[in-house]
Amino acid sequence: MEEKNSQDISMSVKLGRLLLKYPVMPASGTFGYGEEFIEITDYSLFGALVTKGISLEPSKGNEMPRICETPCGLINSIGLENVGFEKFKDEKIDFLKKFNIPVIVNFFGKSIEDYAIMAEKLSCIDGISALEANISCPNVKEGGRAFGTDPEIVYEITASIKNCSPLPLIVKLTPLVSDIALIAEVAEKAGADVISLVNTFPAASIDINKRKFKLSRGYGGLSGPAIKPIAVKLVNDVYKAVRIPVIGMGGISSWEDAVEFFMAGATSIAVGTGAFNNPYLIPQITSGIRKFLQENNFSSIYDIIGIVNN
């Protein structure tokens, strides 16, 4: 009897044209190209599969050390290591396609033109359901500031991707900006179908005995439970500013954390660092949310999305 009720609860969500069976997915860069987690868990309760960020050319990434732990957090400076477009097309996409779960390909470029070229090339590959543009990386031509910090550049990147690709576009925002709502509005105006946030926060940690930064590059990006309250606030800011759906992430380690993000306005959530310790986290969150909805007499995940502002 109860079982049946829980199956009646609608968990599926729409991200623009993209339909997800479950509103939970891995965060880019914490799931590789899907080949590793499958040895531990199955993907049947995953709403989507999300790849590591891809660029036109393969990238070796940064020197070691690339990661360090901080209280309740992880700082990484992987340097966007990836196999590059050609190898992704030839060796990675076929595996991801097998599961009949929407595949979201995260990508980035060194220039605005790079983003457009990547979007066009990715759109020619079979098996991709949506693109996620990571605009948190440095704009090499403009002195290395992140693309995502300048509203004009955000508009230009988003519009030029939309020009080159018919696929649903998720624009992934960088969190360290003075007005995230403004950036989200601009992306929406330029044609973004979905906004995702947050990416990692610039951060550093110092080894006081060696008197040196712990990471080879000095700085990295902070993820994990330490950033969760900030991420919840930023997701809510964006939810209130735009009409397009939002994918929320940042420090989610339990279904309770996930419910917070839905209540703050996320239509779907992503799990990154949390899955490193608990490879079953995504299926557990999916089941946990369903149980929560059932126990609180909600019939659909949509009943709680943005509930704090209703």
Binding site: K98, F276, N278
Partner: protein
């Protein structure tokens, strides 16, 4: 139609690929080892890991499942199988995570993910020295080199190799079935290696000869001081020869275990043309970075100076188990990479210590220091 077909395919591959568990497991023993400074033995109840692991593989262990501080699980080598339902790790307290782990009590639960990584390649027929007449009897010499806590991943290797030999000789189906999981894992690895090198994998040495008699195990075991030579009074039983070294001279040779090994290196690296035996020598090492780096450089120099004669070690002869800081431990975060010589240029490629390793062939490491 196509949809249904590919769905089944996916489901099937899911079943086949489940090779790693993640479970909260009960601790049955967590004890400081006698005569050591700060080293503990942790015994964990689980029936998957002890029956499936290959020496050199590790588990990600979190003493506080579900808690965020410390956030990440820590990697530990699988020290040995205690029985079918329990395995052990040997760990040294050196920071916050290991300190908290040492306070875990019998009956507490820890989160375990594993077995992870590649483990040592114990299929010895394609390793060792390069030359050799095919008519000679192959004598496998396994030289293990451990620095301090680096004994942990090496500890089970002699038993593992001996059991492989026996399993290879048994013609009874029962044995093959019992062993098939491990063999599958092994064959898979040798296939992967084959792609890299063009070498053909085979179980020939294991199946054609009585490996039990033709395997010789030698241990070189070094540390800073006597107290870090764990099991120094009991470890002999697994080996034909054991050599100890300590930096302070408190036990065995005074100095580096690598220097001690290289005093005897010609015993292992020079084939005797007149002998009816052909030596197949394999080195397996784990220890702190400076030790491994010194070891690798010594082997490189040795190979260079032996260029003209028969004592040249091939690229698979020296296996080293590396350490890095891990975040995920399963190969998804790219936080733990090491430089490996590129097959096509003088350049390097990054490989993941946790997934492509932790065991690498010493000669493929690029500027390891």
């Amino acid at each position: 139609m196509l949809y249904v077909w590919s769905k089944n395919l996916a489901a099937e591959s899911l079943m086949k690929t489940k090779k790693i568990i993640n479970e909260n497991c009960e601790v049955t023993v967590n004890l400081k080892i006698k005569d050591t400074e700060n080293t503990y033995l942790l015994r964990i109840k689980n029936n998957f890991v002890p029956q499936r692991f290959i020496p050199g593989q590790f588990v990600m262990l979190k003493h506080n499942p579900g808690s965020s501080d410390p956030l990440l699980a820590r990697p530990f080598s699988i020290f040995r199988k205690f029985n079918e339902n329990e395995f052990e790790i040997l760990y040294r307290v050196c920071g916050k995570g290991t300190d908290l782990l040492s306070n875990i009590k019998k009956g507490d639960y820890v989160s375990v993910t594993g077995p992870l990584g590649n483990g040592f390649n114990a299929l010895s027929d394609f390793q060792g020295l390069q030359n050799g007449g095919s008519t000679k009897i192959v004598k496998n010499i396994h030289v293990l080199i451990a620095g301090g806590i680096g004994i942990a991943p090496l500890f089970s290797l002699p038993d593992f190799i001996k059991n492989k030999g026996r399993a290879g000789n048994e013609s009874t189906a029962a044995h093959r079935v019992n062993d098939s999981a491990d063999n599958a894992a092994h064959n898979e690895r040798s296939n992967i290696n084959t792609e890299d090198s063009g070498r053909t994998p085979s179980n020939r040495a294991l199946e054609d000869c009585d490996c039990g008699d033709n395997n010789k195990f030698i241990l070189y075991y070094g540390s800073k001081t006597e107290k870090e030579l764990y099991f120094r009074y009991s470890i002999h039983s697994d080996y034909d020869e054991v050599y100890f070294a300590t930096d302070d001279g408190s036990f065995g040779y005074k100095g580096s275990v690598v220097d001690l090994l290289f005093k005897n290196i010609n015993d292992y690296c020079n084939q005797n043309e007149k002998s009816t035996e052909r030596l197949n020598v394999n080195f397996y090492a784990c220890g702190p970075k400076p030790m491994l780096s010194y070891l690798i450089n010594k082997f490189r120099a040795q190979n260079k100076s032996n260029m003209s004669n028969s004592g040249i070690l091939n690229e698979y002869a020296v296996q080293v188990s590396l350490e890095e800081h891990f975040a995920c431990g399963i190969g998804v975060c790219l936080g733990c990479v090491v430089k490996i010589n590129s097959a096509h240029s003088n350049n390097f490629v990054f490989k993941r210590v946790c997934k492509d390793g932790p065991v690498f062939n010493a000669f493929e490491l690029h500027d390891y220091c």
